[in-house]
């Protein structure tokens, strides 16, 4: 039997019983007075935003990082994070959007621009003078780690270049790489392709766009809707042909599945079909394993590995499939973090006025890693902005679980981040 539990954003407000569990678990309210907590900014303030109230009553909602821990712990199913996201969009409409937030919302554009001349772009973005200037002029925190553009081209170029070596198979799967993998971390995509091909799948990489999440986070809903519609247009034919779409960045896949349709009220059949075709890579691998179709010829990896399931991953409500699958690797001593958030929350930690909050939020996670002992020299986490934040906070490299699995298959070097095949 089915119970009627899929509450839509607005009406879910009435389910709030004011129990304060969300405020108790909110990682931002725990470290600053600037955000009073999800209950106040969300269900409570929402009463004053509805029914044609002209102005948003509570601008502190700008300090909500959108991590969705409140949704995770709510016993009543209130969609607090979505209430807050909509409130931020309303404020953006009322007050306009600062240039800095417009820049941070457009990582696809930035990725493309920097990739034209990566050496120059890296020098321009990474030196301390320009970071100082970027903080003073735009308010982009100089302490937050910016990714570098790869010198030998982006993921798409590699995929094209290596077509001759790519596996052709009856079994096919579509890969949604997202902007991080496309423009900054092509090795995540290479590891993914290697793991999928090792299991006999031909990987299809269709043209695609940014999922729109950075725009949603910064309140540019109209722009985000264009991105989502573009993705629907570009991916629908694959969905109609019955392909499944896997992604390696949990925040992107969450946006395609749920955030974009829900926040933007995009409920067309195509949007729904896309939602139902998108999988997190390990959610998909877990199904493969359950069906007995995952190769488990893993080599031993003798390593203590602290693993943090990012907020946006937990927000999928699929459990921790990356942890389940990494647990199949012999020798790997996995340590599961219960820290609520790394702090970065996508673009949040890049904002100068919020950077210290982001670091304070991350402190629990950083000390968890430290507490795992001196043998630890690497961490694992599914989302790129979280990994970059964890690297700053722990001073050690962080890897995507798909890199760990690729290494366990003997296909990938964890230190150099290079494929061992080809």
């Amino acid at each position: 039997m089915h119970t009627n539990s899929w509450l839509s954003v607005g009406p879910s407000l009435d389910e709030c019983i004011k129990c304060n569990i969300c405020t108790s678990y909110c990682p931002v309210a725990a470290v600053t007075d600037l955000f009073p907590g999800p209950k106040y900014a969300g269900p409570q303030a929402q009463r004053f935003r509805e029914n044609g109230q002209p102005m948003s009553p509570d601008h502190s909602v700008d300090y909500c990082s959108g991590c969705r821990v409140c949704n995770e712990v709510c016993p009543s199913g209130v969609k607090i994070a979505e209430l807050n996201a909509r409130a931020r969009a309303q404020i953006a409409k009322e007050n306009g959007i600062p240039l800095r937030n417009k820049l941070l919302g457009r990582n696809e554009l930035l990725g493309k621009m920097g990739g034209v001349a990566p050496g120059l772009a890296n020098f321009g973005m990474q030196n301390s003078l320009s970071r100082f200037a970027a903080e003073k002029v735009f308010g982009i925190a100089r302490g937050a780690k910016l990714p570098a553009w790869p010198k030998d081209g982006n993921f798409g170029k590699w995929f094209e270049r290596s077509q001759a070596q790519r596996l052709k198979s009856e079994k096919k799967v579509v890969y949604y790489h997202g902007c991080g993998t496309m423009y900054y971390e092509p090795y995540i995509g290479q590891a993914t392709v290697a793991v999928l091909e090792h299991n006999g799948f031909e990987v299809i990489v269709p043209p695609q766009n940014c999922c729109g999440l950075p725009l949603l986070s910064n309140g540019e809903f109209d722009e985000a809707a264009k991105y989502h519609q573009n993705n629907i247009n570009k991916l629908s034919s694959y969905v109609q042909d019955g392909y499944q779409i896997v992604g390696t960045t949990p925040s992107c896949t969450l946006t395609l599945k749920e955030e974009a349709p829900e926040l933007l009220d995009m409920h067309s059949k195509e949007a729904h079909d896309l939602k139902m075709a998108v999988w997190d890579i390990f959610e998909w691998i877990r199904e493969l394993h359950a069906a007995g179709d995952l190769k488990t010829d893993f080599r031993r990896i003798e390593m203590v590995l602290p693993y943090h399931a990012p907020c946006q991953y937990r927000a999928h409500r699929i459990g921790k499939p990356s942890l389940d699958m990494m647990a199949l690797i012999p020798g790997l001593d996995l340590r599961e973090s219960h820290a609520r958030c790394c702090g970065s929350a996508g673009t949040y930690g890049y904002k100068q006025e919020k950077h210290q909050i982001a670091m304070d939020v991350g402190a629990d996670l950083f000390s968890f890693v430290k507490a795992q002992g001196p043998d630890v020299h690497m961490t694992a986490c599914d989302t790129e902005t979280c990994r970059w934040q964890i690297e700053v906070g722990t001073q050690m490299p962080s890897r995507h679980p798909i890199e760990i699995v690729a290494a366990a298959y003997g296909l990938y070097d964890l230190e150099t981040r290079q494929l061992l095949i080809e």
């Binding site: 129990c19 304060n20 569990i21 108790s24 995770e72 939602k275 139902m276 998108v278 409500r317 459990g319």
Partner: protein, 421 residues
Amino acid sequence: MLDLLVIGAGLSGLMAAYTAAKSGLSVRVINKGLGSMHWSAATVDLLGYTYSNQKQSVKRPFTTITALRDSNPDHPYALLTEDGIRFALGEFVALTKEIGLPYGGSGSGDNLFLPSPAGAPRPTYLAPQAQLAGDLGRSEPMLIVGFKGMRDFFPHLIADNLIRLGYTARAAFLPLDLITARRDANTIHLAKELDDGARRVKLGKALKNFAQKGERIGLPAILGLNQHAQALVELNKLCEVPLFEIPTLPPSVPGVRLYTAVRNKLQQMNVRVEPAMEVIASSTVDGQVEWVESETSARPYRQRAQSYLLATGGILGSGFDSDHSGHIWETIFDLPITPPQDRSQWFHSSFFSSEGHPVFHGGVTVNRNFQPIDASGQVIYTNLWAAGNILAGSDPILERSLEGAAIVTGIAAGRSIVKGQ
């Protein structure tokens, strides 16, 4: 495949998971959101009142439970022997010791009476160490200390009510900025502030100046979150008189401490507690549960196990749902339940009726193995068990038996599941 999937992460679900994992079963706990324990004072209320006598609280719970077997044979306690109940409580006490959050009782088998945040005596059987010095059976006068500006904790109200009942008490305020620089903080945030040793020293010194010799000090339950045990030792030493915590309105720090410590223990035993997994569908075939599905961001997630434990809570939890007509159903398996299906029958005409309200009294009927049964007494699904507040036969809020029933039925169900595998 998992040996056991526990649905619900309240006290009964966690204790069942602990019991099964201790016997070597592979277990996972899934839950919709966090709940009951975050609202609970974290005391173990075994039996505080009876239906027949709401004016007089229960002094000797085990004597009353024995009588209850005859007067209310459907009561969850009546499904167990006295030894079974004592065993389960012993298991719980041993666990709390192991996880660094030791519980104690009166020592005599009688109920303890602890001051509530309104200054009323609250009957309970076991309490965390931090609350034990608040026992109203002790003779030391009480100094109730609050923090001026802290929400929902009023020491003068507590002391006045205690005095009215014949106890010796007085009240005092400390400034809130003694323990926090924040303008706005709830109990969890304040408890976290007292994880910091320097703040504890400041508080301890201030308390020492306040207390008179021979007194004991009652404070809101915010004495540390992750460093609670150490905070208690240090503060007791600094102020030189016994200290005790008085539970606050939610969020309840003692409840969060217990939840976190038990969850961490389960994690060490390879039991994962997965929040935000609401079960929305189930399939049964040939008298067995085949799978359950939980809601996700897209497609439902199908989960299978040898055995399933339903620990989803009562009508105040997620175990039941209802519609406007008064129809009530069990949310996952649509098991037969006892509450009245007519809205006009839900409540007694008198709000404070000693009989309680019928809607809170009902639930799922189980046999002595804690397996749900139908009206003819037949087990409904051979691999399904139930425990905690979802069970029929008692009104745990009226009886003050919520945690006691959760622990003993959770452990009993866990043992029955182990025996069945």
